[in-house]
């Protein structure tokens, strides 16, 4: 099982802050593709023009990052702090 969190404009567009997946692919990139394949707004967010950043266990992670049971994956738009 992995836990997925969505932040800021992503959370609003997807209408979801958090979900858990019992079955999950083996990499972060494959997870993005799986979410995009849900269609509708999921496809717009995960296969669209705008950048979506990702963190695994609270550290920025690239698409080839492997996923394992218990991981926390965060998806969010480019950051705007400071």
């Amino acid at each position: 099982m992995i836990r997925i969190l969505f932040f800021a404009s992503l959370r609003e567009r997807l209408g979801s802050a958090e979900e858990t997946l019992q079955e999950y692919p083996d990499s972060l990139g494959a997870l993005r593709a799986q979410l995009a394949a849900r269609g509708g707004v999921w496809s717009e967010v995960f296969a669209g023009e705008q950048r979506v950043l990702a963190a695994v266990n609270q550290e920025m992670a690239p698409a080839d990052r492997a996923l394992k049971a218990g991981d926390e994956v965060g998806f969010f738009p480019p950051v705007t702090g400071g």
């Binding site: 932040f7 404009s9 920025m60 965060g74 969010f76 480019p78 950051v79 705007t80 702090g81 400071g82």
Partner: protein, 155 residues
């Protein structure tokens, strides 16, 4: 060495929070601080309030990693990095970066480095409410990416 990294929902008293970075350390020869304030105008629209969201847990780790990288690059005697979350109004301090060192050069460079990296690496998002009642997420600026990339080049 004085290090403080904090995210807070309470108002930030930026001037009072700067003092502990040098107070009591007689080796400090200079302090440079940056205070980021909320403005009342963005992209031509009057902004009434702004709400800062973050990723609890990751935010603190990301801020600490940025401070650690600064400590690796320069000889510093103190760093305080404090960021607001929640609702802010024009003139409210959003972020304080305070850096102490023996000489000014290190403190100036480290302070700018920390705010430049924070702008592209720390998971905060601003949502603004305009004076005419609209709400919108603030877009990331490409000039912030350029500033951070310039430090990558110097590493």
């Amino acid at each position: 060495m004085h290090i403080e990294v904090r995210v807070q929902a309470e108002p930030l008293d930026a001037l009072a929070e700067t003092v502990p970075v040098f107070s009591g350390n007689t080796a400090v020869g200079g302090v440079v601080s940056f205070i980021g304030l909320m403005r009342d105008l963005n992209q031509g629209d009057a902004v009434a309030t702004m709400t800062l969201e973050h990723y609890p847990g990751m935010t603190e780790k990301a801020l600490r990693a940025i401070v650690d990288e600064a400590l690796g690059r320069w000889d510093l005697l103190g760093v305080r990095l404090i960021h607001r979350v929640g609702e802010v109004r024009p003139q409210d301090p959003i972020v304080l970066v305070a850096v102490a060192s023996a000489h000014r050069g290190e403190a100036f460079r480290a302070c700018e480095f920390i705010i430049d990296y924070l702008k592209t690496r720390a998971p905060f998002w601003k949502r603004e409410q305009t004076a005419d009642g609209r709400a919108r997420w603030v877009d990331a600026r490409s000039s912030d990416d350029s500033a951070a990339a310039e430090w990558e080049r110097k590493s």
